[in-house]
């Protein structure tokens, strides 16, 4: 017999908590956002439209920022450098819904998996997240982010069962 406290049961049932190392999602893909000019403070850098992540038929279940230690070079054309931890500490990722309302935002640094002892950041949004409404914003740029850099996100998603 396994005893589960009502609080633990509630957090599981309401999808506010999940086992570490458990199923992340059905599919995962990398998304790259290169910069066409040096990043500026306060500018919203929107994600490119993505037919899969934009779909109301898929939900984002986990997200990771790939930094320059995790992978030295991003496979963009031309090749770019993923953000370093110092650069990531300057920005945030904003999740937005259909109406461009910000549902959640998280410091990029907090999404680097290796710095969280291998634990990926799980998500479960009640709102439909529209990928092209999501954006990255920097609030300081003591360490410049240039055209040689890109934001590399690994997004895990699952189809919504209708």
């Amino acid at each position: 017999m396994r005893l589960v406290s009502p609080l633990i049961e509630y957090l599981f049932a309401s999808k506010k908590m999940k086992q570490v190392g458990s199923y992340e999602g059905s599919y995962t893909k990398s998304v790259y956002m290169p910069f066409t000019s040096n990043a500026l403070i306060g500018t919203s850098y929107y994600m490119a439209p993505d037919p899969i992540l934009n779909s109301v038929n898929n939900e984002i279940t986990a997200i990771e920022l790939v930094d320059s230690v995790t992978n030295a070079t991003a496979p963009t054309v031309p090749a770019t450098d993923p953000l370093s931890t110092g650069q990531a500490a300057q920005g945030y990722f904003y999740f937005c819904n259909m109406k461009r309302e910000v549902v959640a935002y998280i410091p990029l640094y907090s999404l680097i998996r290796r710095l969280n002892a291998g634990k990926v950041q799980f998500c479960n949004f009640d709102d439909t997240i529209v990928w092209q409404n999501c954006f990255v914003q920097f609030d300081s740029l003591a360490t410049a982010i240039t055209t040689a850099n890109s934001v590399w996100l690994r997004v895990t998603y699952s189809p919504i069962e209708n």
């Binding site: 999940k18 570490v20 931890t85 959640a104 935002y105 907090s110 799980f122 479960n124 009640d126």
Partner: protein
């Protein structure tokens, strides 16, 4: 082992204004849409400057985490989390685990931090945190 899942999250900050002193209460700054006792918080995470250089409102984040304690108050003025060291609430110090709380309605502007040591802390800086929450129905 379990970890938090994000439903909604928002950055909050405790601005160190007036003077820098140990024991003084620095309250959370007002966020109009979250300051009406309408937020059920179930997780919290703090950051230092190495993880988050500047808050979205443009304030520099404090560098050390070892001289700050955090108190959260609910909508009944109960200090349900009293003087917890900020260091304990930093994810990277907990092997990537975010601190989960029993879900409670908080009175955001009633929550505060206090300094226990002022070394390397400058007037005007902010103590930055992310709350993970649901809205009250």
């Amino acid at each position: 082992m379990n970890n938090l899942v994000i439903k909604r999250s928002q950055q909050i900050e405790f601005r160190l204004t007036g003077s820098i002193a140990t024991g003084k209460r620095y309250f959370a700054t007002d966020i109009p849409n979250l300051s009406r006792n309408n937020v059920v918080v179930y997780g919290i995470e703090f950051f230092v400057a190495g993880q988050e250089a500047t808050t979205p409102t443009g304030n520099t984040v404090v560098t050390p985490s070892t001289g700050v304690v955090v108190t959260l108050r609910d909508n009944k003025k109960q200090e349900f989390m009293y003087q917890v060291p900020m260091y304990t609430l930093i994810r990277a110090n907990n092997a990537g685990l975010i601190v989960l709380l029993k879900p409670r309605i908080i009175n955001l502007t009633d929550c505060y931090v206090q300094l226990t040591n002022t070394t390397s802390i400058t007037l005007g800086e902010s103590v930055a945190a992310n709350i993970y929450y649901d809205l009250v129905d």
